[in-house]
Symmetry: C2
Subunit: 398 residues, 2 copies
Amino acid sequence: MTAPPRPTHIDTMRERNLALVLQEIARRQPVTRARLAELTGLTKTTVTGQVAALEGLRLVTSGGPVREGARGRPGAPVSLAPGPVAGLGLEVNGHYLAACVLDLTGGVRLSETYACDNRGRDARDTLAALAALARQMITRSTEAGLAVVGTAVALPGVIAEDRVNAPNLGWDSVPAAALLDDALPVQTIGLTVDNEANLGALGERWYGVGRGAGSYIYLSGEIGIGAGIVVDGELFRSAHGSAGELGHVVVDPDGPACRCGGAGCLEQVAGLDAVLRAAGVSDTSGTSESRLSELLRRLADGDHDALRAVDAAGRGLAVALVGAVNLLDPDTIILGGLLARLAFWLIPPIEGAVIRGGGKLRGRTPVLRASTLEAGSAVRGAAGTVLAAVLADPLSVA
Amino acid sequence: MTAPPRPTHIDTMRERNLALVLQEIARRQPVTRARLAELTGLTKTTVTGQVAALEGLRLVTSGGPVREGARGRPGAPVSLAPGPVAGLGLEVNGHYLAACVLDLTGGVRLSETYACDNRGRDARDTLAALAALARQMITRSTEAGLAVVGTAVALPGVIAEDRVNAPNLGWDSVPAAALLDDALPVQTIGLTVDNEANLGALGERWYGVGRGAGSYIYLSGEIGIGAGIVVDGELFRSAHGSAGELGHVVVDPDGPACRCGGAGCLEQVAGLDAVLRAAGVSDTSGTSESRLSELLRRLADGDHDALRAVDAAGRGLAVALVGAVNLLDPDTIILGGLLARLAFWLIPPIEGAVIRGGGKLRGRTPVLRASTLEAGSAVRGAAGTVLAAVLADPLSVA
């Protein structure tokens, strides 16, 4: 969480200030050099030099003169360059592979989702398919005049020491980053892997309903239920990367045993398989997507079993979220992934419980929102982490 | 959680390096200037100048020459000065007021605990008594050649916008910091208030069983049950300061209503009042301390009701902690306050549940420890925050 202290030398100072200027441009664009000097506290000469360096790196671009505020001074405004620098996001989930390419402004330049069943499929086969998709995206990016400088991959599992455990995919200690890295062309910033709930939370922060929410819990629901936790705009990462396992919070102390070793876990009442089973949508021959569509149709028809199953899921989510709210004190709870599609039925029971539980102590209740990025949160967040790495260290693309 | 970026100027750089040298001295003392230059990456000339400045501030002291490691070069070692700079920690809890004075090395120079019932007593009266204790400690410190540069106060409540809500004390929106500040002599660093579980967690990190544990949850148990959460050595503070309310995690979804507005909260089975009531130690005429002693006596005698009450508390704590472990992924769980005194009976049921719940996913189980600082964790952590402020900004004592 905190880096060890390091000495500040002149070179470090220049690099820090270069990143500072780039970050201010990202925050305020379009913005003049004069305004950048005011915002950063650096001299105009320094800012002009830094902007020239950033233009040389093709990270920013200067447009024509604009008038600024009341002072009316004309100045050449600077903005982030919508190319060539771009980031590639990839995602493996139970029932799809996805990829998207964002330019430095956050614009979606390419996006693909392939429905396929990755549950129980050999991890190497899944990763080979993902690498093929990634190479295709990189080629198409090059054709569009973009340069993919880095790749980030969203995976539905726990990543520890570069190995991925993803029980819902049947992955046990898979060296996913190394396997993918070997199958992709060398990139300036390289390749990272992260938990899909973490990346989904970042996707919401940068491009979704998390914009402006300081502290929130993003719920990613598919077979399992994970959470990405953002505190004051920063992703909360635990020491070992296994935080946010909301699906294994106990919601029924007398409940049945769970595959995690515990009993009465949230996943057993609010995971997709559990909800479909309780709703009687148990035809396992269908894809997850078709079974979910069937569930949504029955809910819309007022089917008793479907409504009861989703109500039980909502009550389970409420117990787990009351605990999470008391422990983490967020402003907002965002229902993502498949839970976003059930939001109409899930939000009322959760909201009631969260408003009551502990509300008198805090004097404030988190707001519930449904993601509008839906399945796209994690893959967009993944691509966004590449852009964030560029903003943090502009020289990384040199 | 993160400060906005600021430009680095030469003055800022010098100040940062001064703090860096002081922090390295704190970590490695006694340490020579030559070793400090190696450790920090600064030149020997710069280090010598910085050490002279720190000596001028009376924060460090040079001893006689020592031989260092294999290289055998003699050098004058530098250490933190065990005076005059000192920090004052204060604590209000349900059944006592406490104070302690630590010098910059963390040595306990003065320590006092007064048993008194602060529940339902007027907040202004309690704070007046605390201020009297504080003034007495400051006077005694001066007599001992110490200069108290700042004060921190541990309170069993939620602190928001300088107002304290502490339901278990009957405090509602009490401006504790302002009231105390008016009643104490002006100090260089000033006065801060914080939640006692947060400060207890820091006390354990600096002086207790949290030393060396990277990420842990510290449980502070008295009437209520709070948690201080440390991640990678840093206290986890939520946006609004209400994190760690473990006492209001739901452990029995069908349980009775709680004063927080929710139902089935941990506090209702594992809070002191609940445990004493369930154990049949219900003579409210006794102090909390005498009633706890009676409970401990009955437990040692194998009293059926007492054992059953503490077992129920252990099972409730287990449900809440399995949830907290899945959300926060700590290395260690520390039972503090009154829970530390029940640790012999509480640890086995908690340990079993925490090992099972989610353990298969994480592949690792947090260790359970009982605090050995007992009621002293929060007040020592409070004094420690003053010292941490000095280490972070040595010029604050100028």
